[in-house]
C-alpha cells in the first residue's frame, strides 16, 4: 500500500458528522419547529389572562404566568419565532451587504480598498448595539423591520472585513492567475473559486452573526427599541420580569434559557457545518 492509497482510503470514508453538528441541529430544529407552529397554534391566547398572576410552573402553565396572568410558555414560543425572524433577516441583510462590499474591496484599486477598509474599521469600532440603536432612533419608530435592518447593517461591517481578507488571500493564489489567463472573468473567478473557498469560514462567521443578532434584538427589545407589543420578544419578557425577579425568578429564567439555548445551538451547528463544507478538513475530523 503506497502513501497515496493510504490517503485515499482515509479520505474516502464518509465524513463523520461531528456531535456538535447533531446537537446544534436538534436545538435549532426545535426552535424552528416551535417558532413555526406558533403561526397556527399556541397553548393559550398570548394576550389573554389565562391564569393567576405570577404563577409558578405547573401542568397548565409549563413556564408559569407573568404579571398580567398570561401564559409564559406561549410567549416564549412566540419569542422563538421573533428571534429566528430577526436572526435570519439580519444575517441575510448583513451577509448580502457585507459580502458584496468585502468582495468589491478585495478587487478594488488600492485607493478604494484603503478607503473601504478604513470606513469598515470605523463602523466596527462602534458596538453593534449602539449602531443599531442609532439606526432605530433615526427611523420612524421601533418595529420588527427596523430592528432587523439596523442589526443587519451593524453586522455587515464585520462580514465585509472578513470577506475582504479571505478573498484577498484566495486572490493571491496561482490558480486564480491560471484561471484568469484561461479567460475567466472577474465574476467567474468569484463564483467558481472565491466563494467556495471562503464559504466555510464565512459560514461560521455568519452563524456567529446570527447569534449576535438574536442577542442584539433581545437587547433592543429590553430597552424598548425592538418589536413593539404584542410581539413577545425574549428581551421584552426579560425586561417585564425584571421588577419581580426576586419574588418570581422563573419569569426571567425561562426566556433566558430560551435565548441562550438558541445562540449555543446555532454556534454548534456552524462548527459542524464547517467540517462538512471543507473537504480538506474531512480527513482529520
Amino acid at each position: 500500500m503506497t502513501d497515496m492509497d493510504l490517503v485515499n482510503a482515509v479520505s474516502e470514508g464518509r465524513p463523520r458528522r461531528s456531535w456538535t453538528f447533531t446537537i446544534g441541529a436538534v436545538i435549532v430544529g426545535l426552535h424552528l419547529l416551535v417558532g413555526l407552529s406558533t403561526l397556527f397554534w399556541t397553548p393559550y391566547d398570548p394576550s389573554a389572562m389565562s391564569g393567576g398572576r405570577l404563577e409558578v410552573p405547573s401542568f397548565e402553565h409549563l413556564a408559569g404566568t407573568d404579571r398580567l396572568g398570561r401564559d409564559l410558555f406561549t410567549l416564549i414560543m412566540i419569542g422563538s419565532r421573533i428571534a429566528l425572524t430577526v436572526g435570519i433577516g439580519a444575517v441575510i441583510i448583513g451577509g448580502l451587504i457585507g459580502i458584496t462590499i468585502g468582495l468589491i474591496a478585495a478587487f478594488a484599486s488600492k485607493t478604494l480598498d484603503d478607503m473601504l477598509a478604513a470606513g469598515l474599521d470605523i463602523l466596527i469600532a462602534f458596538p453593534t448595539l449602539l449602531l443599531a440603536m442609532l439606526i432605530v432612533a433615526s427611523s420612524e419608530g421601533a418595529s420588527l423591520g427596523t430592528a432587523i435592518i439596523a442589526i443587519g447593517i451593524a453586522n455587515s461591517a464585520i462580514v465585509a472585513r472578513l470577506t475582504r481578507i479571505l478573498a484577498k488571500r484566495v486572490l493571491a493564489m496561482d490558480y486564480i492567475t491560471a484561471s484568469r489567463i484561461s479567460g475567466t472573468t472577474w465574476l467567474g473567478v468569484v463564483i467558481i473559486h472565491i466563494l467556495p473557498n471562503i464559504w466555510p469560514t464565512l459560514l461560521v462567521n455568519l452563524a456567529l452573526q446570527f447569534g449576535l443578532a438574536v442577542i442584539a434584538e433581545a437587547s433592543l427589545s429590553y430597552l424598548g427599541l425592538g418589536a413593539p407589543p404584542p410581539n413577545a420578544s425574549w428581551g421584552r419578557l426579560l425586561q417585564e420580569a425584571q421588577g419581580t425577579v426576586y419574588s418570581a425568578p422563573f419569569g426571567a429564567i425561562a426566556p433566558g434559557i430560551a435565548l441562550v439555548s438558541l445562540v449555543i445551538g446555532i454556534n454548534l451547528l456552524a462548527d459542524g457545518l464547517r467540517d462538512i463544507a471543507d473537504p480538506t478538513r474531512r480527513r482529520r475530523s
Binding site: D3, M4, V7, N8, S11, S109, K110, M173, D174, Y175, T177, A178, S179, R180, I181, S182, G183, T184, T185, W186, I192, H193, P196, N197, D278, P279, T280, R283
Partner: protein, 269 residues
Amino acid sequence: MSPLLDIEGLSIHAGGKALLSNVSFSILPGERLGLIGESGSGKSLTALAAIGLLADGLRPSGSILLDGKQVIGARDRDLVPLRGAVAAVVFQEPLTALDPLMKIGRQVGEAVRRRARRDGGATDATSVMSEVLDLLDQVALPQPQRIAESWPHEISGGQRQRAAIAMALACKPKLLIADEPTTALDVTTQAEILKLLGQLVRERNMALLFISHDLPVVAGAVDRVVVLRHGRIVEHGPVASVFRQPIHEYTQSLVAAARAFDNALEIAP
C-alpha cells in the same frame, strides 16, 4: 511569420523603483525560449506582464504585442478573450496551482468548457468529461478516472503538476508559459515533467516560454535563452552558443557552476 509574443523595451516600475529595465525579446510560433536568472531577477514579472496580469501598483512601460495585440494599457475586458486563446501558464508551486476545494476532474473541466465555449464546441457534461479524461491521460496520469475524482490534497506534487499542465493544455494555447514548473519537485519527477513538457510542445507545435534559475534544466528544453539579472538582459542567443561561449561574467559563473556540478556527479561513485 510574425511573432506570437513581441516584447520591446519593457520596463516595470513600482513606486519609483525599476524592477525591470528595457527588456526586449520575441517568440515565434512553435519556438522555445528559456528565461534564466537568479531569484528576484524579474522572470515572473516578465511573464505576468506578457499576459497583462501584473499586480496593482506595478507600472509597465514599453510595448508588449501578444499575438499582434498591444497588452500595455489595454483594458482587462479586451484582454480576457485574448489570454485564453493565446497563452496558458504552468506555475512553480503545484500546491497553489490548483483550487483546493475543487476535484481535479471539475477543475480541468472548467478549462475545457471555457475553451469549448470560445471555439463553439460541445459543452455538455459527457463530452467535457471525456475530454478531461483524455487530457489526464495525455499528461501520463495513471488511472485518469480515479484522479479526476480526487481532491488536490489527495494526489502527489508531481501528479498535481501534471494536472496543472492538463489544465493549461485544455486551453489549446499557442504559447505555453512554464514558470519554474519543476522547482518544487524531486529530481526524478522533475526529469519526467520536463520530458512530458518537451514532448507536448513538439506534438502540438506550441511555443514555449520556459522560466528557470537552473541552467542545465533550461538547456535541454529550449532553442534560445535570455539571461536576466537585476531586471536587465545580460545575454541573449541560441542555447548552444550561450553555453559554449558565455559573454557576460554572470552567465559564465552560471555555466561554471553547472559544469562543476556535472563533474562532481561524474567523479562520485
